[in-house]
Amino acid sequence: MDIAFIVAVFPKLLAGLPLTLLLAVLALAGGGAIALALSGLRASSWVGARIADFYVYVFRGTPLLIQIFLIYYGLAQFPAVRHSVLWPLLREPYVCAVLALMLNDAAYTSEILRGGLRAVSTGAIEAAKVAGMTRLTMLRRIVLPLAFRQALPAYGAEITSMVKATSLASVVTLMEVTGIARAEVSQSYRAIEVFLCAAMIYLVLVTVIARAIQLLEARLSPYRRPALARSPA
């Protein structure tokens, strides 16, 4: 191991961190919004629910990489797309990567949301109704906070998995941490050192996020007794 080389390569990789984080934040924000829309669609009608199910089935059943390729390379097949006003955007690998990450994240998040909403007890909802809350107040003060807390561990895992998934954006030429590492390796041929450094960056990032989620969860559950076992569902 060449310490001087590692010291030199580390800051170069760190320069990709803002893009990695930006991709993750945009994907999670957009994915969250689409997921909310999906659960609205699911609640709206039988047909809406089937459409939402199909969306989730397709995006969870195929690899993210093929979704990125389909958007980045695939859409260019159609002259209509190439001549549309959106083409300057859809030509950009950055936009395509964010779009694919968003759509993919939405499928997973909507399932997590569904699990969280299902876990809100009927007793809590009945109590809110009896207290005379309107639908919106009930949603804001009872249903969503309870669902959020219930879904937090699963959503935390989704956040970290999205941070890791941003590395796939390097395949469509984006220079985030993995992209820079890949370029660095093709120059220096020192794959082990460079990729281990990049792995270290992700590891620290994911560990910090996972810890933050744990702390938030502990804060939101002051009632939890140590003996209370969580159901595995």
Binding site: V58, G61, T62, P63, I66, G74, S167, F195, L196
Partner: protein, 241 residues
């Protein structure tokens, strides 16, 4: 539309056979990687449950590290890092020039290692779900470790672990697409080649997506069937929720 049928078909103009081969390669690499992960997961779960402190810490570290690194980076590390390592060794023996390593083998190892970390958690959870009484009874009956594992622990734990292992199999299939970066011609690589030479990327990536969807759906049904079979005679147990 007719063009699409011809192109995806098995005729002389069609890419059907190439895509089918890609699909079979995806299945092969996923199966190898999953088996690799099951072995690593079992060892790691054992280390966490009953191993000496040093091994337990090693298993915990393995889990944390593997869950904190992007899959793609692990594959890069194994493929390009492996090549670097093998080249260095070859040079020591007087070999000149670059050395190739197998994308299949490094891909299997990388995905197996990633999947093993999660499978360990699934198996550990399943072990803890075994009623303590059955273990005591086995001990009282004088079973040795290996007999107890084979006849008491494994059958009961596997039944509980089946849904979790099914999920892992699905992720392994999806992760196997990343091995295409090593040049191994599995589904994604096969459709990329077809997309480039026909200049119809949407059609072929869509077809690729359909192949993955077919594989995940059909194997999902098999796992559902296996769960149903495993739950026979378990009136109290419920599959899913």
């Amino acid at each position: 539309m007719d063009d699409a049928v011809t192109l995806l078909g098995f005729g002389p103009e069609g890419w059907g056979l190439a895509l089918l081969r890609g699909g079979l390669m995806t299945l092969a690499i996923s199966a190898c990687a999953f088996a690799c992960g099951l072995v690593l997961g079992t060892l790691s779960a054992w280390a966490k449950i009953a191993g000496p402190p040093a091994l337990r810490r090693a298993a915990d570290t393995y889990g944390v590290v593997m869950r904190g690194i992007p899959d793609l980076l692990v594959i890069y590390l194994f493929y390009f890092g492996g090549r670097q390592l093998v080249s260095a060794v070859a040079q020591m023996f007087g070999h000149v020039g670059p050395v190739e390593v197998s994308g299949f083998a490094t891909g299997c190892l990388a995905i197996g290692l990633l999947s093993g970390a999660t499978q360990a958690e699934v198996l550990r959870g399943a072990y803890h779900a075994i009623p303590e009484g059955t273990l005591e009874a086995a001990r009282v009956a004088g079973m040795r470790h290996w007999t107890m594992f084979r006849r008491i622990i494994a059958p009961q734990a596997l039944r509980t672990a089946l849904p979790g292992l099914g999920n892992q199999w699905q992720s392994v299939i999806k992760e196997s697409a990343l091995v295409s970066v090593t040049g191994l011609v599995e589904t994604l690589r096969a459709v990329t080649i077809a997309a480039n030479s026909t200049e119809l990327p949407f059609l072929f990536f869509l077809a690729g997506g359909a192949i993955y969807l077919a594989i995940t759906t059909i194997s999902g049904l098999f796992f559902r069937l296996a769960e149903w079979r495993a739950m026979r005679g378990q009136p109290a147990a419920k599959v899913g929720g």
